[in-house]
Structures are given as C-alpha cells and as structure tokens.
Amino acid sequence: MNFFLLKNRIIGFCLIGLIIFFSCEEAAIPVKDDGIPMKLDTISFPVIKAMSYQVPPEMGRTDLLYFGNNDGYNFSYNLIKLDSSSVTAGTPFSFYNDSLIIVDSLKFSLRFDSDSIENNPEFQLRYFPDGGDSVFNELESNYINFDKSIASTFISTGQLESDTTDTNQTKVFLNFLLDSSIVNAFRDTNNTDFNRSFLVELKNEESESFIFHSSDKVGADGPQLKVYYRQFVSDSVVLDTTFRTYAAIEDLSIIIPPPISTDDSSYLSVGTAMGLKSIVLVDMVDWILDPRAIISSAELIFNFALDDTLQNYTVISYPIINEGDFLQFSSFDKDPYDEDFNYYTSTSIVKDKLKINHRKIATEIGHQKYNNYGFKLEPSISNDPFRTMLFYSIDSPDYFPVMRVIYVLP
C-alpha cells in the first residue's frame, strides 16, 4: 500500500475519533419574562344552578347482595341470572336434553359474607318458568319497574350452612336443593336463550340484614348452581355422578330506600342506595377559549358538608345532554338526565373537597363545540352504597361550588 495513503488514512481516522469523543454541555440562559410567547391564564366560573334528585337505587354492580332491613332500607329480594354455559367445561343446558343424561339434583348456593352464623332465618327461592328470554336487567331493574308477581311460587327453601371443607377458612353458604325437574325449564329446546333467573328472598320479614357475595365481587364466591348428573355409556353401563357449575352473570338487590331527609334535598347529595344524584350548571356562557390553548385543569370544586373524616369515596361525573330541572328536589322513576360517557370522570374526595377535572369537556365548551347543559354527579360503585355524601350548594356563602380553569396559551 502506498505509504502516503496509509498515513493519511490513519490521520483521518484519528481525527474522526477525536470528533466522536467531543461532547456538548448546555446551560439555560436566564431571561426576563417580558413578552416571551406562551402565557398561563386562569378563569373562574360560578355554578349558577344546582339541584339533587332521586331515582330508584341502582344496585346492579355492587359487590354484595342484601336481604332484610337496615337503617331504614328494606332489602326486598334479590334477582340472580345464571350463565348459559358451565364454568370451565362450557357445558350448555341443552347438554341435558340427551336421553343418556340423567340429572339427579341441583343445588343453588350463595356465599354468606360472614364466616359465622348468629341468626339463621329461612330463605326461599323462586324462578321464572314463564319469563321468556329475560326477566330483569341488572342495571335498570328496581323496586318500581320490576314486577315480582311474574315469578313462580317458591320452589325451595334454604338456610345458612357452614362449610368446613377448607380447614383454613370456614365458609357459610345459603344452599337451596332443587328438584331436577327445574332444569327442564332451563334446557327448553324451544327457547335457546332462556332467562335462567332466580328470585331469592327471606321467607319472613326480618329486622336485621343478611349480606352475601355478588358476582361482581372480585376473588369471591358469587351465586352458583350445581347440576349433578349421571351419563349412560350404554344400556347397562353408567358413569359415576358428576356435576357442572353455572355461575351467576347478573345479580341485583331490589331495595326500597328510606324517606328523603331535609339534608338530602337541601345539600347536593349523592348516594347509591338512596338513589341520590345531583346536577349543576356552570355559567360558561360567552367564554371562548383560544383554539390553540390547552386547559391544564378545569376543576369543578365541591366542599364536603359533613363533619366526618372521609377517605376513598369516589364520585363520577359527566356532562348531561339535555336541559336540567333545577327548580326543586324531585324523585323520578327513571333517571331523566342522559350522560355523555365520552367525558366520564371519576374523582375521590380529598381533604373534604371534591375536585372534578372536566378539562376535556371544558375545552369543547370553550371552543363553542358543545352545548353546556350542566354536569351530573353520581356515586361510584366502588363506594359503600349506604353512605350518602352531602356537598354545599350554591346557597352557601363560603363553600359554594365553583369551576376553576387554568390554561396555557401559545
């Protein structure tokens, strides 16, 4: 190789190595904030209308099922719907139409929320042989719109029983033994999507409450039906009895709340079992947000009105899509205010304040793209359904609700 070329190549690559090992260090130059683009701005909007209202309790997503009476609540009965296929094996009820399958018995069970039995009343079970496809809706059925009379007469009674199979933990179950003929309704070949629903109630009025696991409780034992059967392999050979388990897919406590108190109607109130919700209207008329601005926060702020230390209570809020009636407290058979689920927010009360960040919808309102009918407040299913939260309303001189918007302008 040419000596000069070799030497030049070495020198060239040494230079590259030198360049690569150089670095850059950058410190910001301090400048005064005079006329520098981007600006932080704030605006406060008053809540000009606010009202609570009551609807029938929506208990479909609660973790527990309630029976009896407690604090003025009457837990009338519970509705439970089973899955169409068994757990794990996925066996449908039509499986039992086979003449080689003999159903011996059925057992319907609910897990008691306590591991001990103090009072053991009698429960009774009904079903809906004439109910067709569906008899109730977990999210919509309530003590007003559900007609209990469509259920059959009771088909079984049961009481709490301790199960000591697990040596580490005693479980208590409410068991109903059912006649095998019940499965005939479920396997009805004329209706492939039969309602598969039960109604469970106390046989007699009780002054106390009895609480069971619902299908919504994570890691728990929801209601279930076990079908015990035998299968003939041939005319003379039959397999041992085995079973399939059908878990509940919907369950609902039908409860009648106590009468509304003065506090419930004068404050802004939310509570699941009371069926209390609130609506507020924020005066954002004529507000125009710069098209390139971004809202950092648009907090709808409520002050907690109870002298209580509260933790982990969560309130859900949405904009409503129709005009609200803010004149007086009202009770409705059905919630009259539809929500816009696109702007759902879930907020916990912190230090006695509820600060709901509605910046997405505030942006739309500020851009004049959305009609502001107001916001709805309702309790989250994660709360204790029997706690009612009260917030100061617009008549409070010091703790009135307000929306505070912080935004950044380019």
Binding site: I11, G12, C24, E26, I29, K32, G35, I406
Partner: protein
C-alpha cells in the same frame, strides 16, 4: 479510498454548536469563516491564510494550490454570559472540502459547510402565585437548534496572468426546530415548530496581483455574493400539548389525545447578499499583512422568527486585519515549517425591526504545521471575543478550531515501477 472513508464518516456526524442569546434572532449568527486557517487569522476567507496566495474559502485563489486537498475543520466553542456563572459548550464540524487544482490555472472544488447556528436555550425564573387557594409555580423555557448548511460547488479560472476569478454556488439547505414550553407545577406544556429550508446563493470571487517586486507583493481580493433563490421552506407547527411523561415528544400518554400539525409553506425568509474586499501585503520574509471589509444584508421580504425575540438579523458589517507568517515546507528545521496567524476583527450585526445592533469584537491566533511531501497541513486556531447588544446581554466567546488538510497528486501520471 481513505479520503472517501473520511468524507463519508464526517458526513454522518451531527452538528452540536454552542448556544448563544444571539442565535435566537432569526436564523442566528452567520459564520464568517469556515476553516481553521481562516479562523486563526480572524479572516472572512478572502485573503490567503492557508498557503501563500491561497485561502480555502476563496475559489479565486485555488489555482495556487500545488496539490489536491481534502480538508475538514472542527470547532469547539464556549459561550458565557458576562457576570454570570453560566457557560455553555458546543462543538461540531464547520466544513469539509475537496479542492482540485488543475495545471496551476484552474481549479474545482466541492464543500459542505455550516452557514448559521440556531442553537439557543433560555429559561425564565420561576414565579409562584395563588389561584383561589391553589398554588401555581411556573416558568418558561425556549430551545432552538439546527440551522442552515451549504453544499457548495466552485470553479476558478484565470482572467490574465495576474488575475483570477472564482465562481461558486452554495446550495442552502437544512432544518431547524424550536420548542416553547411553559412549566406549570413541574408539568411541561410544549409547542414545537420544525422548519425545513432550501435556497441558493451565488458567489463571484476575484483575486489579483497588483504589485510585485522582490520585497513586496500586494494582492487584492473581492467577493460579491448574491441570492440566487431566496431561502424558502416548510414550517411544521405542532399544537400545544401537555407532556405528562416529560419525554420531550408527543406520545399516547400525553394530553390531548390528538395533536394537530399545521403545514405552512414559507418563502423568501432569508436572502443574503454581500460585498467584500480584502488587501494583502506579502513581504520577502513570508510575512503577510492583510485587511478585510464586508457588508452583508439579508434582503428577505418575509419575517423569519419563531423565537422569544421577535426580531432577526438584517445586516452585518465586518472589519478585520492581521498577520500571517507562512511556514516553508522545504525547511529543514521543523519550526520553520510552522505557519503563524494573528488577527483582530469587529463585526456589527443590525437587527431588522428594532434597529438594535449586536457588536462582536475578537482577537484570533492560529498555528499551522505542514508535513509530508504532498503538503498535508494541520491547523489550530483560537479565538476569543465578546458579543453584546445595546444595553442588554454581553457574551464572552472562546473558540478552538482544528483543521486537517490532506494533499495528494491528481492528474499526474505516476512512474511505473521497474
């Protein structure tokens, strides 16, 4: 082969130049010289600083080269604000160039060089205020980077025995980005702009020998630069977003869910024109004294600033002078092979809209060492100076340059080995 390796490798390197307050005016400060030998003398590239009678930045002088050269120059710079403990460092490639002299009369060359530096980073002090019981702590930041590069092609040819012309075309290209952010309680609200650039500048260079006797040679140089096609480009303007994970880019974790980008065509935002003169007196002992003068104007009709400063550099005047003592490659003592350079300059930049002036003064020094029979040269330069704007910021600038030029023989038939 080796030259090609070096060339490609250098192309892949990033430019990371030191930031400056003054880089935030329009496209920032323009470079006066792009090679270590030029910088060492504080020159704008007209007068000979590389080799007797030759400046690598002046195509009209290229026929004076005895070899084909590939050269590169690397720059390391520190900028500090006067009276503040605030220093930034940056470095990057200034230029790579390939020049082929032909028969001592002609030459052609190509180069890639840095034209502007747009790198700046500003921050305001934090301020705290109360919004109805909510404590808000906020400050602002501004960053910009990138700038213009030029891909240059030049040719030179003689007018007569004592005069030569050089013509070069600079294809301007590049991109810059700037980011405004407002920090609110440790959350950054960012807004980006990205610009791409494209334009052309044409340069006509002149070199002439006006006096020559045994004791003194007087050389005169001139350059006229004109915009061929004013710089235009595309501005990509991103909407403001909340950078929740503070990773400087918009991603699905940020707010809002959709960020729009406006694409805006921009035209006639940079149109540099200049006229420059230089005079060099060479003495018998290889000592040269030179002086240079330049008037530069940006004739663009459209404003080009997306910065914390709503102003841009519109003009520049340069005065400079210095000494160059060229080394002799044929000397026996190594110290006689050294080239020494010393210079001083004064640049005045005029702002287009406010009428304010940025003044830059500096002194420079440099040394060059020739080695090998093909005239390889290693050059170092150091420049120190200050920049200031009326009644406002004053910066202290220190710059170190290293340049390497490797020579080879082209268009010459080699002897075959016996």
């Amino acid at each position: 082969m080796s030259y090609r390796n070096i060339f490609i490798s250098l192309l892949l390197l990033n430019y990371i130049h030191a930031q400056s307050v003054f880089n935030a005016y329009g496209l920032g400060l323009s470079k006066s010289g792009n090679y270590a030998a030029t910088s060492g003398a504080g020159s704008i590239g007209l007068v000979p600083t590389f080799h007797p009678g030759v400046s690598l930045d002046n195509p009209a002088t290229w026929p004076g080269l005895k070899f084909t050269y590939i050269s590169g120059s690397y720059n390391s710079q520190s900028v500090s604000l006067d009276n503040r403990n605030n220093i930034t460092y940056g470095n990057g490639l200034d230029k790579i160039q390939f020049v082929i002299p032909i028969q001592d009369r002609y030459a052609i060359g190509v180069a890639l060089k840095l034209v502007n530096n747009h790198n700046s980073y500003f921050k305001t002090d934090s301020s705290t205020f109360d919004f109805q019981g909510k404590n808000l702590i906020t400050n602002k930041e501004f960053r910009s980077g990138g700038g213009l590069l030029a891909g240059s092609f030049g040719i030179s040819f003689p007018m007569n025995e004592k005069m030569g012309l050089g013509f070069s075309v600079d294809r301007l290209f590049g991109s810059s980005r700037d980011e405004h952010s407002l920090v609110l309680n440790d959350i950054h609200y960012r807004m980006f702009n990205i610009r791409t650039y494209s334009g052309t500048v044409m340069n006509l260079n002149f070199a002439g020998n006006f006096y020559n006797d045994n004791d003194l040679i007087v050389l005169a140089f001139a350059r006229i630069s004109m915009t061929g096609k004013a710089v235009s480009g595309t501005l990509y303007q991103f909407d403001l977003f909340e950078d929740r994970n503070d990773n400087y880019t918009y991603d699905p974790d940020d707010y809002p869910a959709i960020v729009n980008v406006d694409t805006i065509e921009v035209s006639d935002i940079y149109a540099p024109n200049s006229i420059s003169f230089g005079l060099n007196a060479g003495f018998r002992n290889d000592l040269n004294i030179f002086g240079e003068f330049q008037i530069w104007n940006d004739e663009a009709s459209s404003a080009n600033y997306e910065s914390i400063y709503t102003d841009q550099i519109g003009s520049k005047t340069h005065f400079g002078g210095g000494l160059v003592k060229f080394g002799n490659i044929g000397a026996r003592a190594w110290q006689d092979k050294l080239t020494f350079r010393l210079g001083a300059f004064k640049d005045s930049y005029g702002l287009k809209y406010s009428g304010k002036t940025i003044n830059e003064n500096g002194i420079t020094m440099g040394i060059g060492f020739k080695f090998a029979v093909t005239g390889n040269q290693l050059d170092f330069s150091y420049r120190t100076g200050s920049r200031s704007i009326n009644g406002d910021y004053k910066e202290l600038v220190k710059e170190f340059n290293i340049g390497l030029s490797l020579g080879d023989v082209w268009f010459l038939r080699r002897r075959e080995k016996q």
